[in-house]
Subunit: 738 residues, 2 copies
Amino acid sequence: MANIAKKVSWSSRGDEPAQGEGTPLLNGTGAARYSRQVTCLFTWYLESVVSRPKEIPHNEKLLSLKYESLDYDNSENQLFLEEERRMSQMGFKCLEMSRWLVCALIGILTGLIACFIDIVVENLAGLKYQVIQQNIERFTETGGLSISLILWVLLNSAFVMVGSVIVAFFEPIAAGSGIPQIKCYLNGVKIPRVVRLKTLVVKVCGVICSVVGGLAVGKEGPMIHSGAVVAAGISQGRSTSLKRDFKVIMQQFLKVSGLAGGVLFSLEEGASFWNQMLTWRIFFASMISTFTLNFFMSIYHNKPGDFSNPGLINFGRFDSDVSGLLGALFNVLNYWLTILRIRYIHRPCLQVMEAVLVAAVTATVSFTMIYFSDDCQPLGEDQLEEYPLQLFCADGEYNSMATAVFNTPERSVRSLFHSPAGSYNPVTLGIFTITYFFLACWTYGLTVSAGVFIPSLLIGAAWGRLFGILLTLADPGKYALIGAAAQLGGIVRMTLSLTVIMVEATGNVTYGLPIMLVLMTAKIVGDYFVEGLYDIHIKLQSVPFLHWDAPATSHSLTAREVMSSPVTCFNLVEKVGTIVDVLSNTSTNHNGFPVVSRLSDGCEPGKICGLILRSQLIVLLKHKVFVERARSRLNQRKLQLKDFRDAYPRFPPIQSIHVSQDERECMMDLTEFMNPTPYTVTQETSLPRVFKLFRALGLRHLIVVDSDNQVVGLVTRKDLARYHLGKHGLEELQLAQT
Amino acid sequence: MANIAKKVSWSSRGDEPAQGEGTPLLNGTGAARYSRQVTCLFTWYLESVVSRPKEIPHNEKLLSLKYESLDYDNSENQLFLEEERRMSQMGFKCLEMSRWLVCALIGILTGLIACFIDIVVENLAGLKYQVIQQNIERFTETGGLSISLILWVLLNSAFVMVGSVIVAFFEPIAAGSGIPQIKCYLNGVKIPRVVRLKTLVVKVCGVICSVVGGLAVGKEGPMIHSGAVVAAGISQGRSTSLKRDFKVIMQQFLKVSGLAGGVLFSLEEGASFWNQMLTWRIFFASMISTFTLNFFMSIYHNKPGDFSNPGLINFGRFDSDVSGLLGALFNVLNYWLTILRIRYIHRPCLQVMEAVLVAAVTATVSFTMIYFSDDCQPLGEDQLEEYPLQLFCADGEYNSMATAVFNTPERSVRSLFHSPAGSYNPVTLGIFTITYFFLACWTYGLTVSAGVFIPSLLIGAAWGRLFGILLTLADPGKYALIGAAAQLGGIVRMTLSLTVIMVEATGNVTYGLPIMLVLMTAKIVGDYFVEGLYDIHIKLQSVPFLHWDAPATSHSLTAREVMSSPVTCFNLVEKVGTIVDVLSNTSTNHNGFPVVSRLSDGCEPGKICGLILRSQLIVLLKHKVFVERARSRLNQRKLQLKDFRDAYPRFPPIQSIHVSQDERECMMDLTEFMNPTPYTVTQETSLPRVFKLFRALGLRHLIVVDSDNQVVGLVTRKDLARYHLGKHGLEELQLAQT
């Protein structure tokens, strides 16, 4: 029975080159190169517009092997059956109750975090703008406005530097909106550290700094991420929660959206494994979260009991129709920029420098725009403008450009939607749109916590309003809404949930159809040129993301061609030494092993008996559950399901478990612990069929057998994710270790 | 190779009695008994409250074999692969486009039907109430009010008789709300004739008659059913639409609800097989439908362009908290009543008589209540009352009871929600609640097209308002809303979609939490006593309905115990005579046959090669695709996938295909036509695992194999649906042919 576990990497297959071969890895360590290139930071940005992206090698055509997959399949081994038998009817009901409680808790906590972010941003930004406003007012007449500019730049840079430093040095995964990561997580890809407490703290502080620092960012994406962390954290506190990580997610979305929007978002964006109870629980948690937020915000605003603030962006009621070419342009530019960033800017200090640079440029550009703007508007009585800047306008008037840029982006959006006709002149809107477009595009992807929702809405609202004014239409505000929807749709390309969100935000079902048509047009137009922003970023990170369906025209591919083989299998009764060797092999790092019954010669692949996971084997090794010991420890406690659960989610690495030379010769009986009925398919099964099984059941390993039920291969997530429909038909991505 | 197909009924298994044995079938033909019992119609209703339901034999513990299952699995045979290979990229895009067009068409048609129903009901009911109102006014002082009563009774009875006759004699499946049937259809059970054009016509006319006839019914359920028929009809027009039947459904729900409500409804209520594209298409069709409806209704009301009518029930904004015991009582009463109906009233003429009786009683009771009511209210200036009855009130006043009962139920609901405090006195509301409760309970299940949504809302609104008045609260209208939500939740038990519908109807997210809590409380309280109304009716029809999850504690059941065996299998190359004999066997009527490769002795069960469907075999027989003929018709056209599609959905019965004695001796090669990779499981697979596979992939047949891949059994829907969690743990339903 020696040499039973074949030492093969199941990522290297006979009929193709080994992983990533021939493609320069972008995250290489060419440190010497950097120093030469730090000096020409600006040249790169010039390049980013001029150079053709195809000439730059990047990892979009690779599939990273560093991401692990989540496993929603239940190991129905004997321990599990025993536990179920012991459990009473009452026990089930308690379990059910506790799940609802967990959901309520998640909702409450998420709502509180959202509150915290809101209140802190409101106060800090208010303080900042007040200081600058007073300063500008003081110097407007005496003529030292350059001092005001410096003050503004310094304040912004300071905030952004703090936000950028904590992200770059403490938790890089907290950069960006977090939505691509959550999308992957929902899809079943385990992104390392994405749901840690540290990530949450950095995210919350980071997003406060970015927004207060005046960057062209929103706080919605990071809030979604925060909600997901809370949800995963709370549900991981209980050990049966493998599936719950997932159950939990998009409460915070509710903050922006409403109710159904959040549920549909989780549905649209990931949900590789769905059931009704899940929907209910997400919905419930969403409700609680919205309620908590509204409750505390109304107390904060000294109107306790007034719950009439159903979201941050309750726009109004509008309709119209436009499209989303700008979205595609945004995404293409951001794509080039991201490739440049991957290539050149991946040292934390460089990242911080870039963020501070963007903050300074944003402040300077804003100031310049306000300074040269001559769009003076009379101060209304309703005081829609939070921080009206008089500057060079007559008394009783304010600078209209300042309303758009001297404000948090969220307030600007609201102003663009709700200000009466004539509040902005076309030149102001035109200049603002163009400037803000490039600023937002530059900003997304910086090493700060930052969402792209609000900036997209702002760009769209500005050009929508411009459009409305140019056509001399009565209510430019409604064009602002449609423009905002189109721009957001053109950038992130979520039609369904965005429609619901927009409809819920406007509170009028009747405008659903125009909004949906706008979003669909934006998506179709945009998709013609380039993918959605989130998908681009997911691709650039080489995540093995599974889409909803297998690529069309892939029915001719069969499991035989897709699967990895040969497979490392274990016997029903296996030698401890073999198991330890296989688990210790860092070059493969397999996570699931088919268990086979084999003839004693061991050359034939055996008949499938079950599937055992790395985590289970490690627990067994840790508890030294060896056949030889069974006799000597009759009085010892039997291993229970609880022992496996306690090890979740962070079971110890194999290196931490000491196995003596004597013990290596012992045998381990896997019968009781393996999953005795893993899902299998035959070699002739088509790729779409395998894909459907994999996706519908949330699998991590799917065993391929021949007509005699002998194991011939194993299909994992990366085997399916590598095929995609390119311009020339079916294409295959290469696998890379990074 | 003779006698290969074993003639076994796979519904009769060795270890249990044959189907339905020992249980009297309720739909028996004891015609003699009826005549004796017609005379004591009233006694039965008395019985219905007194007698204990457990003493009455009914078919709730049976599972009918007459329902077929829908099949969402794709037969990936060689013809399919060839067709895919031929299809260009362009072709796929066209197919995609045409699907969206179909959805748009569905939306438009459904919206038009809803318009039609609305307008006709509005006009006819208006006419009826005007005539009666004038009549009553004429006779109030002269004192011949009994003539008015007779007029009212006659008018109502006439309408209801027409509605009842067309349902009872032409299309019995059009009875009721249609929601239980659609729920089953979404679940994957093919209810005969439920999506036929004839059903649609009868449903539309029937619901108009019922509502105009003054029954305690609503028109929302039938509208949902109409939407489903339109959707199924249009998508069946195209031959690839097997899956589309399903894709399409709940547009009309939108009429009541809004956007997300409809989508969530389909999700909550059935969706045994779900994907993202589907969601989008349903959503799109919903949008189109709502838009069409609003557009035409606004033209009808001479306000073209005014789309501000986002639904029929745009309630207002409210909050509070109550529960749903009344719902359980309603369901229990209706359950007993339905059992009585199944037992005694199943001849069409009796059914019509009962419907007319109910109509007459409803009119009489309404008249009596108005007559004896002394709740006079001053006529407001806003004229909320559509048909104010003065009766014995002073001039300038109207009878308040008449507002509640002398009106379509929908208008009554609106009045209860929106009338200012003091419009109703408590006695009026109390009497109305009690009377209407029993009337609605009696009405649901009559042989007329009738929904239970609006009556539930009405009962709930009445007692909610009563509750509000008794607690002397400022705004009884908001209690009416919460009461309505609770009552509806208590009766139909859909928490998620109802919350969304209510929230969307009130247009305020903030009241989502109270409404949801109310609905959940109502559901929990109600579930403690009895199931939801729709579920009761589904159970009473013995439909093999699959719930979302397998019953808890069923992990110890394995596929070996669940499956039907032995299985009728075919060889890869099979004798035509054998096939014809198996297909002609009316006692089994199997629909899927595993194809096996077998040793020549034919005693062993063979290794699994594929799965072939009855419909495919019939097409093959019809085209005489025999091995012997292959040589002689080399110049003949090869069979294509199109030939199979053309046969869908109504392939000819086997009896219509003539097979000569010579041809019986021919052989048929199934290799090219069978599905070569059907899903299989091993005998040890647990019930929940089989269930999950079945549900997630929308299967109709799941083959059970042993460790040598030999076919040992077949799992179909009824094998899974028969297990349910009763009071004493896992219970098994019996199978019956009816």
